[in-house]
Point group: C2
């Protein structure tokens, strides 16, 4: 852990928190902070034909990445992209439908998996790395740049189900041996590593791995398809970039958050809104920086009830390394003034 990446400025509070410092007021960003709740985002979105076109247009993607930083002064900017650019670049095309979620032609067998290829993977994603490069040159010296990817299990679930799912029956059948799961997970773990390494090479100062469907797996499959691939990703990234902090978000992991943090070696863990705070302070914070976990619906609601919940999160978690965030992505209907109120409140924390 001795090499220092050229992109890291230790002045950035977000990166200091990820390295284990306790910082008050805590650094702050919000999942899906660049998105539909912002009128300036909707304007840019209207100029392109599809959501993926926006992800693959470096200037526009950089612009929407920066919008929430300009408006609210968050401590970190997260690359505007999507976890499903990975299957797209592996040769399984993805279509996004406004308000309905993504669809893919679902993987059905070994031949479908074998058809996927890493050959043009990095070159297909070149526009994404160009966006990162542009952002790294543009961001102010106090704002950190986060790259990201979906975790292999969550991306596999979308690829096997052909989109979102209620019970993940197909993906779970593969996880139970009724499908070429090992082959797919190996491919996705390698793709995820290359995708994250390329983002770091282009200037990302930290990366987040989103495992949105981690919580649907039983214990054994959680260890096999959530913990193990994340551990591999962390090891491989730290081999090349030992000081790049890795945040993981195994959403819904519940009791398994504990083994996840201990086994994977991540520097920070993002908590969904259901995780009790004292438990997180006691069992997770000694091992990793905590990020989270205001319910996005509390932000949507706003007012004193929101602020009471924000205060409790800060009271319990700001005695150790901590980054304020939501427990899930911001909802598109969130009033702008509620976000402003949240930011103002947190910025005054410790000053009161």
């Amino acid at each position: 852990m001795s090499l220092q990446s050229p992109f890291i400025s230790t002045a950035k509070p977000f990166l200091r928190a990820l390295r284990g410092e306790t910082i008050i007021p805590p650094p702050l960003w919000l999942m899906r902070q660049a998105g539909r709740y912002l009128p300036e985002y909707r304007q840019v979105r209207a100029r392109v034909h599809s959501f993926l076109e926006l992800c693959y247009s470096p200037e526009l993607a950089a612009e929407v990445t920066l919008q929430p930083i300009r408006r609210y002064g968050f401590d970190a900017a997260i690359l505007f992209s999507d976890i499903l650019v990975v299957p797209d670049a592996l040769g399984q095309p993805v279509t996004f439908h406004e308000g309905r979620g993504p669809t893919l032609e679902r993987l059905k067998n070994k031949a479908d998996v074998t058809r996927l290829s890493l050959e043009k993977f990095i070159s297909s994603l070149a526009p994404v790395y160009k966006t990162v490069q542009f952002l790294a040159q543009t961001l102010s010296p106090t704002v950190a740049l986060i790259g990201f990817a979906g975790a292999p299990w969550t991306v596999a679930a979308y690829m096997i189900e052909g989109g979102g799912s209620k019970d993940f029956a197909h993906a779970k059948l593969w996880s139970l041996g009724q499908g070429p799961m090992e082959q797919l997970m190996e491919l996705l773990t390698e793709a995820t590593i290359r995708h994250l390494l390329a983002q770091i090479a282009a200037g990302a100062e930290a990366v987040q791995v989103f495992d949105s469907w981690a919580g649907v797996l039983p214990e054994n499959e959680f260890l096999q398809f959530v913990v193990n691939p994340t551990k591999k990703i962390v090891e491989r990234i730290h081999k090349t970039y030992p000081t790049i902090p890795i945040i993981a978000f195994p959403r819904g992991a519940g009791i398994q958050y504990k083994i996840f943090v201990k086994e994977t070696g991540v520097q920070a863990v993002s908590l969904d809104s259901s995780v009790p705070l004292m438990w997180a302070a006691k069992y997770l914070q000694p091992y990793a920086t905590i990020q989270g976990n205001l319910d996005p619906i509390a932000l949507f609601a706003g007012g004193n009830n929101m602020l009471k919940r924000v205060q409790r999160i800060i009271d319990v978690l700001s005695h150790g390394p901590f980054v304020f965030n939501l427990g899930h992505g911001i909802v598109p209907e969130t009033p702008l003034e509620h976000v402003a109120e949240l930011v103002k409140y947190i910025r005054l924390c410790g000053v009161r």
Copy 2:
């Protein structure tokens, strides 16, 4: 805890397990064991116009309750009904659509809640209690009869959302004070208690309270709207029937399963498939009988992979009070022979 209900036969293994006995092989039933995966169920269903008509026809409801007992010899029969008969009987009509889930005209304000009434509640549900009575007289002396209700939070969520939901935004807004949540929860807690008491009076020997959406709530709201109402329900039922065991299923409670078991006083807790087994054995089983938690998709998959998972559940949980079950309802596409295989395997447990 001295009064003995006239309906309890201590010979029933399921009831003995709920009272804290360790029984090998463990007693066994499956959530949604009466349902669409059974051809004999689909035949009865085809004879009525709607799902609710089936729930309100004592002879037919009793018939479908008994079907899985006849076919597989489960240790408990659960009344065939639905958690949404409660809003229906309170004056908020419910419609069921095959394969799409239920819809209700959603509650929007205080006037909508005030319009609901307990006045005709018990009389509207008379057919349900008649079904229970009929079942109590019909069941063999080794099979226990389970009554059930939805927990107030889960039923409230359906009533406020007007059906299922992805993010429970409306219900959560009410839980954050933007709606007459206290009034609704008070009404539903009272309705749930009366509904369960009436089922016990008619012959139910144990009851299960289903809190399917417990897992979407943050800590504070979990205590307020999941733990507290369940505690009240347990107290009131035990005031009249001190020896009737109560099973609760706060699905997705994660870390909060622990406080839930300690605070509510339930005799048994049903675990979803994500709960790690050793954790449950260590932190929950000393306080309550464990029920669960095979992933329904593993049952759907069948074969050795299913049996390996079944064996692990038995290995870890059968050293204390335990009832074998799924972690969620059986899926309609489940092959009949997989259920037969599961039952056969469990019946031989401890005999091998």
